[in-house]
C-alpha cells in the first residue's frame, strides 16, 4: 500500500516538474512555475520519507538543517554573482550523485548484488557526478576570480585529458565485467575528480556561458544515472529535464559564438592573435559625457548594448536612469541582448530586470538587428566582441563568423570603455575607429552617471 502511495506521489511530482518548466515560457506565468516545482519537490520528499526501509530520521533531519543553513544565504547573493552560485550548485548536484553511487557500490559489493546493469549505471553516475563536482568548483572559482580566469594551456593538454578520460572508462568497463575488483573503484573516482579539474583549466571567462550550460547538462545526466541505479523513474524524468535544459542552453551558447562543443572544450580561446589590423595607427573620436548626452537627446530611437563590463562596473542602475530620462523625453529606448553577453545564459536580462528596466525593452539579437539600420544612436556599455564588425568580414579574426549585434549600422554609436586597451583575447575592435563612433572613456558607472546628469539638465536626479 505504502509503495503505491510513494509511486503516486512520484507520478504527480513528475507531472508538476514538467509543468514547472512549461510555465517559464513567459514572465507572466514564471513564478507559478516555481510554485509547481516546490510542490513537486515536497510531494517527492514526503513520498520518499514513507519508504519502509528508512529506520531513522535523525541524520536526514540534521542534513536538512545543514542544507537549509547553507542554502538560504546562497540565495541572497548579488545578481552579478549568480553565475558563481549556479556553478557551485552544479557542483553540489554532482557531489550528491557521486556519493550516492559510491554508497550503493559499497553496499551492493557487500551483498554480492552487483549485476552488470547496476554496475554500468553506477560507473556512469560516479564518472559524471565527480567530474561535474570538481569541474563546477573550478568554474565557480574562475567566476569568483579566486582562480586565474585566463585560460591555462600547456603542450599535450588535450592528449593528456583524453588519455585520463579513456583510462577512467577502461577501468569502468573492467569493473562492469568484474565488480569484485574493488581496487579499481577509487581509481575511477580519482580519475573523474582529476578530469573535472583539467577540463576547466584551459577555459577562459568569455566561454563560461557555454561551460556552465554543459556542466548543467552533466549534472542532469548524473541524476538520470542515479535514477537507473536506484530504479527510480521520477529521478530519471527530473534528471532528463535538467539534462535537456543544459543541452539546449549549450547549443544556443555555441551557436551564438559560432563554435562547436569540441572547440569550446579543447580549443582554448584567445590563442589566435589578432591580424594585422592593429598595426596601422588609427584615430578615435573621443568625447565627454555631455557630448554623449547631446547625441542621445537629439535621437528619436536609442539602442543600448550591455556587456559583462556593465556588470563588473555595477552600472546597470545608471543604465536604467538613462532609460528613464530618455523615455520621459519621448525617445524610444531598447536594449540589445546578445546570447553570450555576461557570464551565463540570460545574465544581462536578470541584471537589467533587477534595475527595474521593463522586460519588454529587452530585445534578442536576431530581432534587434532588423531595427539597427534605422536606429539613431547605439550606446555600448561594457560590451566589446559582440559588437565587433570584424566578426562579419575579417577571416583572420578569432571571432570571425560569430553572430554580432550590428551596432555599426546605426547612425551614431557611443561606446564607453575604460581605455583603448583591447578587450578579451586582445582582439582590436574596428567599431571604435569608425567615423560615426564617439568614444567616452572612463569607468562605466561614473560616465553613465554624468550622462544622466547632463540628460536631466545638469541638476541630476540624486
Amino acid at each position: 500500500m505504502i509503495e503505491h502511495l510513494t509511486q503516486a506521489a512520484y507520478l504527480v511530482a513528475a507531472a508538476l516538474f514538467i509543468l514547472s518548466l512549461h510555465w517559464l515560457n513567459r514572465p507572466a506565468t514564471a513564478r507559478q512555475g516555481v510554485a509547481a516545482g516546490v510542490a513537486a519537490m515536497a510531494l517527492a520528499i514526503l513520498g520518499t520519507l514513507l519508504h519502509p526501509e528508512i529506520v531513522s530520521y535523525k541524520w536526514i533531519a540534521i542534513a536538512v538543517v545543514i542544507g537549509t543553513v547553507i542554502g538560504v544565504p546562497l540565495s541572497w547573493v548579488p545578481l552579478t554573482a549568480v553565475p558563481q552560485r549556479t556553478a557551485l550548485s552544479h557542483a553540489f548536484g554532482g557531489l550528491a550523485a557521486g556519493l550516492v553511487g559510491t554508497a550503493k557500490y559499497l553496499l551492493w559489493l557487500d551483498e554480492g548484488a552487483l549485476t552488470t546493469f547496476r554496475m554500468t549505471a553506477i560507473t556512469v553516475e560516479v564518472l559524471l557526478g565527480y567530474l561535474t563536482f570538481t569541474g563546477s568548483l573550478m568554474a565557480a572559482g574562475k567566476l569568483q576570480e579566486v582562480i586565474p580566469t585566463r585560460p591555462i594551456t600547456y603542450r599535450g593538454q588535450n592528449v593528456m585529458n583524453l588519455a585520463l578520460l579513456g583510462l577512467a572508462i577502461l577501468a569502468g568497463v573492467y569493473l562492469i565485467a568484474r565488480p569484485e575488483a574493488w581496487q579499481l573503484f577509487p581509481l575511477i573516482v580519482a580519475l573523474s575528480l582529476l578530469f573535472g579539474v583539467l577540463l576547466i583549466i584551459p577555459i577562459g571567462g568569455a566561454d563560461m556561458p557555454t561551460v556552465i550550460s554543459l556542466l548543467n547538462s552533466y549534472a542532469g545526466l548524473a541524476a538520470v544515472a542515479m535514477g537507473f541505479v536506484l530504479e527510480n523513474k521520477m529521478l530519471i524524468v527530473a534528471g532528463a529535464l535538467d539534462g535537456a535544459s543544459g543541452l539546449i542552453l549549450s547549443i544556443i551558447m555555441c551557436r551564438a559564438m559560432n563554435r562547436s562543443f569540441t572547440n569550446v572544450l579543447f580549443g582554448a580561446f584567445g590563442q589566435v592573435q589578432a591580424s594585422g589590423a592593429a598595426a596601422t595607427q588609427k584615430t578615435v573620436k573621443s568625447g565627454t559625457p555631455q557630448d554623449a548626452a547631446e547625441l542621445l537627446l537629439n535621437a528619436s530611437s536609442v539602442v543600448v548594448v550591455p556587456g559583462y563590463g556593465m556588470a563588473v562596473a555595477q552600472a546597470q542602475h545608471r543604465v536604467r536612469e538613462i532609460y528613464d530620462q530618455l523615455t520621459k523625453k519621448g525617445v524610444d529606448v531598447k536594449f540589445a541582448i546578445h546570447p553570450v553577453a555576461g557570464r551565463m545564459p540570460g545574465h544581462m536580462n536578470v541584471l537589467l530586470a533587477e534595475s527595474e528596466v521593463p522586460y519588454e525593452a529587452l530585445v534578442e539579437m536576431d530581432d534587434i538587428n532588423h531595427d539597427l539600420p534605422q536606429t539613431d544612436v547605439v550606446l555600448v556599455v561594457g560590451a566589446n566582441d559582440v559588437v565587433n564588425p570584424a566578426a562579419r568580414h575579417d577571416k583572420g579574426s578569432p571571432i570571425f563568423g560569430m553572430p554580432i549585434i550590428d551596432a555599426d549600422k546605426a547612425k551614431f554609436v557611443i561606446a564607453n570603455k575604460r581605455s583603448m586597451n583591447p578587450g578579451f583575447a586582445g582582439i582590436d575592435n574596428e567599431l571604435y575607429y569608425a567615423d560615426n563612433t564617439l568614444m567616452v572613456f572612463g569607468d562605466a558607472k561614473a560616465v553613465l552617471g554624468d550622462i544622466v546628469k547632463a540628460l536631466s539638465g545638469g541638476s541630476g536626479i540624486h
Partner: protein, 98 residues
C-alpha cells in the same frame, strides 16, 4: 530486477528527454538564468536517493555518504527555488510598480 524494467526505464528516459527538449525550447530567452537555477533545484531531486541511503543506515560509510548527499541536495533545493523566485519577481511589465 527483470530485464523488462531496464527497458521501461529507458523508455521513460527517452520520453522525458524529448518532453524536456520541447518544453525548454519554448522557455522565454529572457528567463534563461532563472531557468538554470530552477532546473538546478529540480535535479536536486537526487535528494530522494540520498534520503533512503542516509535513512536505511546499512553501514557507517553509507550513512556518512548519504548524509552529505542529503545536505548537498537540500542546499540546491533551498537556494535554487529561493533565488529563482527572487529573480522572477524582478521581471516587470512596462508601467507596473513594485
Amino acid at each position: 530486477m527483470s530485464s523488462l524494467d531496464l527497458w521501461s526505464m529507458l523508455f521513460v528516459f527517452l520520453l522525458a528527454a524529448f518532453v524536456g527538449l520541447q518544453v525548454i525550447q519554448n522557455v522565454s530567452r529572457l528567463l534563461h538564468t532563472p531557468l538554470m537555477s530552477l532546473t538546478n533545484a529540480i535535479s536536486a531531486i537526487a535528494v530522494v536517493g540520498s534520503i533512503i541511503i542516509a535513512g536505511e543506515q546499512k553501514s557507517t560509510v553509507s550513512l556518512v555518504l548519504g548524509t552529505i548527499a542529503v545536505a548537498a541536495s537540500v542546499t540546491n533545493i533551498v537556494s535554487g527555488f529561493l533565488i529563482t523566485d527572487r529573480m522572477l519577481k524582478m521581471f516587470r511589465e512596462k508601467g507596473s510598480k513594485r
